[in-house]
């Protein structure tokens, strides 16, 4: 069984708690299929070591994602990625995009942009990215 390296990036200078950062990123890796069904996750101690966090935090993340049905733990063999429903993947995709957009609009508003300005900016960005 081959252990994969899990690409999780921790931002220490963020308002988001460490535990949330790890959980959200791991969830996203699973739902988007970057960690496929059956992937064997590192042991709690190994993962904690790689992330420089405590085993308590990793255990909590594994437990939460197991409760959400994204992970399953087999006694004695470890923790694996479970099967993700196609509908879940679709919902998550749109939800993730919406959240990012919300954050962008929020920062625009905080520097005093009007709704019209935001709309024209949005169109510009859209054009720049999608017509590459």
């Amino acid at each position: 069984m081959q252990d994969v390296k899990i690409p999780i990036q921790i931002n220490e200078n963020s308002a988001e708690p460490l535990y949330h950062q790890i959980e959200n990123q791991l969830r996203s890796l699973i739902i988007t299929g970057q960690l496929g069904e059956g992937t064997h996750l590192p042991s709690i101690r190994e993962f904690a070591g790689a992330l420089n966090c405590s085993v308590i935090t990793v255990r909590r993340v594994y437990q939460d994602l197991e409760n959400e049905g994204l992970l399953r733990t087999k006694q004695g063999t470890g923790t694996f990625v479970a099967q993700v429903e196609a509908g879940d993947r679709e919902n998550y995709r749109l939800k993730a995009a919406q959240e990012a957009m919300q954050a962008a609009v929020q920062s625009g508003k905080s520097v005093g942009c009007t709704e019209e300005e935001m709309e024209s900016l949005f169109r510009e960005v859209l054009k720049a990215i999608y017509t590459k």
């Binding site: 308002a15 535990y19 070591g49 966090c53 405590s54 308590i56 929020q106």
Partner: protein
Amino acid sequence: MEPIAVQLNGVSKMRKRRVIGPIDLTIPEGYVVAILGHNGSGKSTLLNMLQQVVLPDAGQIIWFGKEHEGPLPLELRQQIGFVADNAGLEENRITAQEAAEFRAYWYPRWDMKLFDQLIRDMEVPVDVKLNKMSKGERRKFEIAAAIAARPRLLLLDEPSSGLDPFAWKVMVGQFRTFMAEGDTTILIATHIADEVKRLADYIVLMHRGQSLGMAEKDMVLDQWKEVWYEGDLRPESIPGVVESSLEERGLVRVITTRVSEAQERLELSNNRVLKIRNLELDEVLAFWIAGYAPVQWK
């Protein structure tokens, strides 16, 4: 309930300069617990009492669920590993190899293969008498020998003092591997923030002989944030602010324990957040000592 490695109930000891304790502490099995505190705060006394090198004047210590009247039984001693601040004199005139053979006799779970590998990885000379080694080499031998005895409880008193950065990295790796293999418990007294970050699950803070309590490391480090903002919101009206100052060009710097609420409050009132920074371990400990106890997981 998790199994408990050691428990101290009202343990105290009169030292030359101050009374250590009364200490109440419960260390769960299978974790790395960092013991932090200034010099003379009682860290070493605590570790020494956990293996009866120092006997408490009062209170009760329970090892793996059992209290022991009088000296600790041999079977228990064989399960406790120790890297002391000052290495003992007994093995001074023998080589690392001879000392390993001596220890193999006393520790039933001694793993000579592991010892040889650790000594190789950390580049400790095997044919030099222990008192002829440099401070760092001796320290590396002590660490290798403590791990090779495969203890159930490993007590480390500033294990990295005298180590070069390369050896330090190897040491941290060895402790991690060792932890991954079983339900060992490590208590490590240290001043090195990086060591705490890389190894610890829990933090115990000692101050003037008292234990200020135990908290999860990630919770302790996550709780404190410094926020820089631009705007006219008064710091007093921001949630969780314990310190604030007016900086150049009208910027305000606050330290808060409730950063998401603080950020929300600032954004709602059109104040611009410029930067959020995690406090360093030493800054966090200063607040803890000043009376701001860390939050516990709900």
